[in-house]
Symmetry: C2
Subunit: 307 residues, 2 copies
């Protein structure tokens, strides 16, 4: 399969043997990874899907030309987007994942021994299939018997969910350009709020402070109107994401107060916590709290809107 | 001036109109910036010097093919490498900067009203000249009357410094491949320790946790042997540095105890601190403390060696 420039989709037309990530979301810059071997390329109903073996970042999953995960640094994203919300509430039992078809968030949710039910709604079956085939250490999340996979649109799924169903919702989406566009808008957040119990929490992928402060400001404003509990913003380092960071929007519904910056379940570095099983690579209680400390340029814009 | 491939030094031979940063320090990956105009290229006695106007990161300074600063994100590096050490001690008076020829660290040091003397030893006069010509908002640091510029080798400079001279030393170096190689070795740290007063502090650029944990481990071990006070490690986000982060080694000499994670001078987001003048873009007291929280993979390796 070749695109208009005569090269494979997602492959840089300009550096032979390298994948380069260009996007109107980050004009004027591009991160490139050396490709040892292309393992898969296909076009689903929703997007271009590419998997390659990189020279130094392990296997890489790319959707519509944008890196979704590499084996070398996926731990930071998956652990933070999962444990930031789940360690902020006592004994989460029912968790919904929107997106996250690769299974990495499922892997992290399933570490929580209190969890009884994990629903996931991913729009693109090809992402699930490709992850199971090429990323066994990520897709391992699907092997947990508590997981129920639904292939479909996240907004439609939420419309059918009875009110007050979930303790936590995790929105592991791609960027707001493409199939995930609706997941950054107010109607979606309203559906999430209805699906949560009082004092339930949502964590959603929320872009880069360096690149998209204006988008983040709008997401925060939308969330502030809809979520009557806490609204906070955290960020962390993921080397293969644009600008090297990714943020998370964390909100709770009206009910028992949630103090996102101070986790009620504390995971230490050694990993001997009976509520969260296994040894984490990136997340710990200290880095949880630190993630809410913002650089001054962002603090000045966002803090007045946070609760 | 062209190199062997017939292109300007530091310019990508493979993406016309883009600068791409390749290095054996980060094999298999490269960050690229779109070039609007090349403003300067030259070869000093020590390195290749390139300045270009980028499409989206402002002007960019490149030494030996490696990005040193961009106007868009230099605030994070300059503010953190300066205020992490200077806010950790009471009323620093005499400060030495090794490297840092662009003047950005000087700009930050000069915000501290307690400081009476700022010495800087930069090996490469061309870096100073180029910064004054193309980066007035960075080189502004040289305009402070407390600044004394010495062009020369940092190791030789330190050998001539009387013992117990400085309250703080800031080592703003490039990577350990090239002219800065000696600044990562034990003899250099011994000279720094001698130049500091009891309970004096040093902060040195110390690479990326994601890319160079083994180098960092060795730096920590060396420092632990030489600095008999505190030894700690902090990190922060700088989008145009490899892997999107940069770390700082912070050490104090035997004497009054320094608790690096808890600054004695607290700079808030509004910037109304009479000890640190002006409004900072990135640094504040919360992000100071947060910078010492390490991901678990690094915490397990480094924490046993830190004090």
């Amino acid at each position: 399969m070749v695109d208009n420039n005569g090269v494979a989709p997602g492959m840089s037309p300009v550096i032979p043997g390298w994948f380069s990530e260009f996007s109107p979301m980050w004009p004027g810059e591009a991160h490139s990874l050396k490709v040892d071997k292309i393992l898969f390329q296909g076009k689903s109903d929703y997007q271009e899907v590419l998997v390659f073996q990189s020279a130094t970042y392990g296997k890489v999953l790319v959707l519509d030309g944008v890196i979704q995960l590499t084996e070398r640094d996926e731990c930071a994203y998956q652990e933070m987007i999962t444990h930031l919300p789940l360690c902020s509430i006592e004994n989460p039992k029912k968790v919904l994942v929107i997106g996250g078809g690769d299974g990495g968030v499922l892997r992290e949710v399933s570490r929580h021994s209190s969890v009884e039910q994990i629903d996931i709604c991913e729009i693109d079956a090809m992402v699930v299939d490709v992850s199971k085939r090429f990323f066994p250490n990520v897709a391992v999340g699907y092997e947990d018997s508590r997981v129920n996979l639904h292939i479909g649109d996240g907004v439609e799924f939420l419309k059918a969910v009875p009110q007050v169903t979930y303790d936590a919702v995790i929105v592991d989406s791609s960027d707001p350009i493409g199939p995930a566009e609706e997941l950054f808008k107010k109607p979606f957040f309203e559906l999430v709020a209805k699906a949560l119990r009082p004092g339930g929490v949502v964590c959603t992928q929320a872009e880069s402070l360096w690149l998209h402060l204006n988008i983040i400001e709008e997401i925060v404003s939308n969330c502030r109107q809809i979520f009557k509990g806490s609204v906070n913003y955290a960020w962390t380092s993921v080397p293969t994401y644009p600008s090297g960071v990714i943020g998370f929007m964390l909100c709770s519904t009206e009910g028992p107060v949630v103090d996102f910056q101070h986790p009620v379940t504390r995971v230490d570095v050694i990993g001997n916590n009976n509520k969260v099983k296994g040894t984490l690579k990136f997340y710990n209680a200290e880095i949880h709290s630190a993630a809410f400390c913002l650089p001054s340029f962002a603090e000045r814009v966002l803090r007045p809107k946070l609760t």
